[in-house]
């Protein structure tokens, strides 16, 4: 057994390998295993007294990949900060992000960080599951297929959480290089931005729409740094009965594969996605998706769940069966007969069957007594279900092909054997210190044209060209849509929907993403992403006391001490700020080594990117608000303090100057109280419209509210709450965090002001005239006066 030669398996000689030979084996086999890991594997097989075979090395490579195991996050990081000493983070994830969850210990957090997705309570009987994944590298190589399987994969994560959740919402956040990028800046072998953008958007559209899941939240972000390495974040929200949140695989249960067949597509996806993108990688690492197969699989799976036909379930994602079956059988042991796996075509070697990432496959643990019923149910809807093995009690992973053993590993070694990564991180402060930063120079008449440029900036402009291609109404639960108004006139801050049509409870989903702050200060970048996600959630009526967040890090070279230090700082902010808000993380994902070579051959990391996705439960969907102005004569209040925080702001982008100055800071204790009070104000009906302030500050938010509702505004921006006097340019365009513009009817003004005392300032009123006027009340000068038509036309410029 495994000591004889067999045509089915290939032995890989590692026992006598030198360090360089071990590394060469890893590199040649696309295993992405480092020397330390190869040596641990060598030692394991020395003990067994034999060489490993292909399926065994592949299993370890998949299971230990950065994609599956979060090596960097789980490792030991020695962090050193210029002038502030050092600190050791033993498991960065546990000591920052997961620590928030643990310390807050919210009873409505039903499942966090241990399953395919996080689950929070929706009501007494139902939970809401949420997961966001990235599919960056596949989308760079093959945008349509890569992005389609990205959304397909995260939908399966939700189908595979607990005993299965019904997908009820998709979210997408994309980061691309701008279409206008000069071809000279596109490295050799990289697709032009136009092709990546169109392919990604079409791929997600065709898969998501066919699945019948509304896509009602997202963002599209442009920066040159994403030219060779676009970011494709796909998220799915699911609805799950409370009694289906836990899995319990038992010895004797059958291993059943359900759904699509297995082919040679997507081999090495997990390991490839953990490595840097280099020229010449074959696109066979990208899977081929088929949405209707997944829809069929979902249809029978949810029926089987409700009939209680299986005890364990997970999706086949990265690493294919090797990860899925390995994970389900981690506690028991499992035997798999690989020849039983239904194939798309003949000719796959056993190890290929084992690690293929072909799509639309789920793995179930089925008690033998239920097999017949499950098989009949699947047959009735034309879905293939096949027994491919059995869970054992020997704590071994036993792979066979036609009775012959083709791989045999101890489960403990597979799951616990990986050596921990030790890395160094060093932080020194950026060159542009706030004090030395220049102020933007303005002639007064420039304010209007600057606002128009901001509204037309691809990161701010309307994304109708994307949003309209996605079905955001299917399932019938939509309450607050991507755009306000019948004709989609203004951008809403978050989406609200009813996952159960017989309930007035809703779910709110929002996101925060500020890569442009990351260059100057990753700590405050992360803080602002959390603030923005929660601000958006609160702006539509959400409650931060029943909300949770997800982290998705996309980072550059994790071996580079400075990039790693930036990550540590971002994680530390995640702890400080989330804890300060009292909002737990429930799930997350990290993608490292998003690096590429620029046309001069220099290794570059992408902008430091942290997506924070927020989800919350809304008790009564009639207590939500949109962002469009609704009634002339209403008051417009600015909530929160405005400071001169233009570092990394979009003002610098449209002025075409390098980012400088202070990145917005979050004063979390104040922000938390303010968010809670605003939520109460919305609940009391004091608020007719609410819009969060983000890119472009007060000016952009006011313009959007005005053309969103087709009523003008006349505001004195010098009424804003400011801790220190600041110039007009900062009052108009600063991106200070934790701020909102709120429309309050005259009758509600006293109540509103009393409630938000110290946090709000009335700037002026909504006007019938379709003009936006922003004044400096002290000098009595009009800073900016623009007709709504012109503002709206700028915003509707297609990026």
């Amino acid at each position: 057994m495994l000591t004889k030669d067999s045509p089915l398996v290939q032995k890989i000689a590692i026992l006598k390998g030198s360090d360089s030979q071990l590394l060469e084996i890893s590199r040649k086999g696309l295993l992405s295993l480092n020397l330390q890991e190869m040596k641990v594997i060598q030692a394991y097989f020395k003990k067994l007294g034999r060489e490993p075979v292909d399926a065994e090395l592949e299993t370890l490579a998949q299971t230990w990949s950065e994609h599956c195991k979060h090596k960097t996050f789980g490792g030991v990081i020695e962090y050193e900060e210029e002038g502030r000493g050092s600190r050791v983070y033993d498991n960065l994830l546990k000591s920052t992000i997961m620590r928030v969850t643990e310390e807050l210990d919210r009873p409505w957090c039903w499942s966090t960080f241990r399953d395919n997705a996080g689950v929070i309570a929706f009501d007494e009987d139902w939970g809401i599951a949420f997961k966001v994944e990235t599919h960056n590298h596949p989308s760079a190589l093959e945008p349509y297929g890569g992005a389609g399987t990205g959304i397909g994969g995260v939908i399966r994560d939700i189908l595979g959480v607990g005993l299965g959740a019904k997908p009820v919402l998709n979210t997408d956040v994309f980061a691309f290089a701008p279409r206008s990028l000069s071809p000279k800046l596109i490295p050799k072998g990289v697709l032009p931005p136009q092709r990546i953008i169109n392919g990604v958007i079409a791929g997600v559209r065709d898969y998501g729409n066919r699945m019948g899941i509304p896509t009602a939240n997202g963002a599209v972000y442009f920066d040159e740094g994403y030219v060779a390495n676009p970011l494709v974040f796909c998220g799915t929200v699911g609805l799950i009965p409370k009694d289906k949140v836990e899995k319990s695989v038992q010895t004797g249960d059958l291993v059943v594969t359900l759904g699509g067949r297995t082919g040679r597509d997507g081999i090495h996806g997990a390991t490839f996605s953990s490595a840097a993108l280099e020229e010449g990688i074959t696109s066979s690492v990208v899977q081929i998706g088929h949405a209707i197969m997944e829809k069929r699989t979902m249809d029978v799976l949810l029926q089987a769940r409700d009939r209680g036909l299986y005890r364990g379930l997970t999706d086949c994602g990265a690493g294919g069966f090797s990860s899925a079956v390995g994970e389900l059988g981690a506690e028991t042991g499992v035997r798999v007969d690989l020849e039983k796996v239904p194939l798309k075509y003949h000719g796959l070697a056993p190890w290929e069957i084992w690690v293929s990432e072909s799509q639309e496959r789920m793995v179930l643990a089925v008690p033998p007594a239920n097999w017949l019923e499950l098989s009949e149910l699947c047959g009735s809807e034309g879905v293939e279900a096949t027994i491919i093995g059995q869970f054992t009690n020997d704590h071994q992973l036993n792979l066979r092909y036609e009775g012959e053993t083709v791989g045999l590993l101890d489960m403990e070694f597979v799951h616990e054997g990986m050596p921990r990564v030790h890395r160094k991180a060093a932080w020194y402060h950026p060159v542009a210190e706030p004090k030395s930063a220049k102020r933007p120079r303005f002639q007064q008449r420039d304010y209007g044209s600057t606002l128009l440029k901001l509204l037309a900036h691809p990161n701010i402009a309307a994304k109708k060209w994307v949003v309209r291609q996605y079905d955001h109404e299917v399932q019938g639960g939509s309450v607050i849509k991507p755009f306000a108004g019948f004709d989609q006139r203004g951008p809403n801050d978050a989406c609200v929907f009813r996952p159960r049509l017989d309930s007035i409870q809703g779910v709110v989903v929002s996101n925060g993403f500020n890569p442009s702050y990351g260059e100057l200060d990753p700590y405050w970048m992360a803080a602002c992403a959390i603030d923005e996600a929660l601000r958006n959630l609160v702006a539509v009526g959400g409650n931060i006391n029943h909300a949770a967040i997800l982290d998705n890090f996309c980072w550059g070279d994790s071996q580079d001490p400075r990039e790693l230090a930036a990550l540590v700082r971002a994680c530390q902010a995640c702890y400080d700020i989330a804890k300060g808000f009292g909002v737990p993380f429930i799930s997350g994902k990290d993608s490292f080594n998003n690096t590429w070579r620029d046309p001069n051959g220099k290794l570059r990391s992408i902008p430091r990117s942290l997506l924070i996705s927020a989800i919350g439960v809304i008790k009564d969907i009639t207590q939500t608000v949109t962002m469009d102005t609704k009634q002339p004569g209403d008051w417009i209040f600015l909530i929160g303090e405005t400071r001169e925080e233009l570092g990394g702001s979009h003002l610098w982008k449209v002025l075409d100057k390098p980012p400088q100055g202070t990145v917005p800071h979050v004063q979390v204790a104040k922000a938390r109280e303010c968010f809670e009070l605003l939520h109460q104000a919305i609940g009391k009906g004091f608020v007719r419209a609410c819009h969060d302030l983000s890119e472009g500050g007060v000016a952009v938010a006011a313009a959007e509210m005005a053309f969103g509702g087709e009523f003008g505004m006349d505001l004195d921006i010098h009424k804003a709450l400011v801790p220190h006097a600041i110039p007009d340019s900062a009052l108009l365009f600063s991106e200070s965090a934790s701020r909102f513009l709120v429309e309050v009817p005259p009758m509600a003004r006293p109540g509103f002001e009393a409630l938000l005392k110290g946090y709000c300032a009335a700037l002026g009123r909504v006007t019938k005239k379709r003009t936006l006027i922003l004044r400096n009340g002290r000098t009595r000068r009009i800073l900016l006066k623009q007709p709504l038509e012109r503002l709206r036309a700028a915003w509707e410029t297609i990026a």
């Binding site: 729409n209 066919r210 088929h290 209707i292 849509k481 049509l501």
Partner: protein, 251 residues
């Protein structure tokens, strides 16, 4: 209490079955979602229902053409049962993909030999579009809609919704027989001939439309529900389903 029995037919790729079922329930019917394989296996099943709804989605992925494969299943495997259903005056409703199915199976605008005389082609934009549209309800052979509003607002979500009749004569016949039920008003989102958004058979008991009435059966589904002028109305989608199941339809 038991209302009229309404079957919501689904197959692989159908995806509006749950909300359509909910809309029927709100309208007073007793809905039941059934898989096509079940209906094909038991040919008597259909006759036990009063209303048949073919909901939206991407049946069989819209491979070949939107709705084509399910249309062929109906036309070649279930045609007698369906013809009897229609002849008895029971209603068949096709929404979005269901409309595409009914057209391609020859139940709309309807002829004895089930030949196809109209189609729903790619939108002029060449893209899938999801947004709200304004509609004008015509005075049509669907007299069960007579008591509903004349100005409707509903969302569309389709890539193949451009209504095209075979020729001018086909269109003239539809007009003459009052088979045009809905037209887009203001913006024609997909380039439909005559801005046609929905049609019925000559008897008015088979209807198909591209917009989604099941997505506007409660007030909070409307994009401007939070603006005061939209409160306190019976949403038009609910009016539609109440009419379809033969219950009170008043605006």
């Amino acid at each position: 209490m038991s209302g009229p029995r309404a079957m919501v037919l689904r197959t692989a790729g159908t995806n509006c079955d749950q909300e359509t079922s909910e809309a029927l329930r709100l309208a007073g019917a007793e809905p039941s979602v059934r898989h096509i394989n079940e209906v094909l296996a038991d040919k008597g099943l259909l006759a036990t229902f009063d209303v048949l709804v073919i909901p939206g989605g991407f049946s069989y992925g819209d491979d070949v053409a939107a709705g084509k494969i399910l249309a062929n299943e109906l036309r070649f495997k279930l045609v007698e049962a369906l013809d009897r259903f229609v002849a008895r005056g029971k209603r068949i409703i096709g929404i979005c993909n269901g409309f595409q199915v009914l057209v391609k199976a020859g139940f709309l605008p309807g002829s004895a030999d089930h030949s196809q005389t109209v189609t729903l082609a790619n939108n002029d934009s060449g893209q899938f579009q999801c947004h709200w549209v304004r509609l004008k309800r015509e005075k049509s052979a669907c007299e069960w809609l007579d008591d509903t509003a004349t100005r409707w607002e509903l969302p569309i979500a389709h890539g193949e919704g451009k209504f095209i009749p075979l020729d001018a004569k086909t269109l003239a016949t539809l007009e003459k027989r009052r088979q045009i039920v809905f037209r887009y008003s203001g913006i024609n989102p997909n380039g439909s001939i005559g801005a046609i958004a929905g049609i019925c058979n000559a008897k008015g008991n088979v209807i198909g439309l591209m917009p989604h009435p099941e997505r506007h059966v409660s007030i909070s589904q409307h994009p401007e529900w939070s603006r005061s002028q939209h409160k306190q109305k019976v949403p038009v989608g609910l009016q539609f389903f109440r009419g379809a199941v033969g219950l009170q339809t008043m605006d």
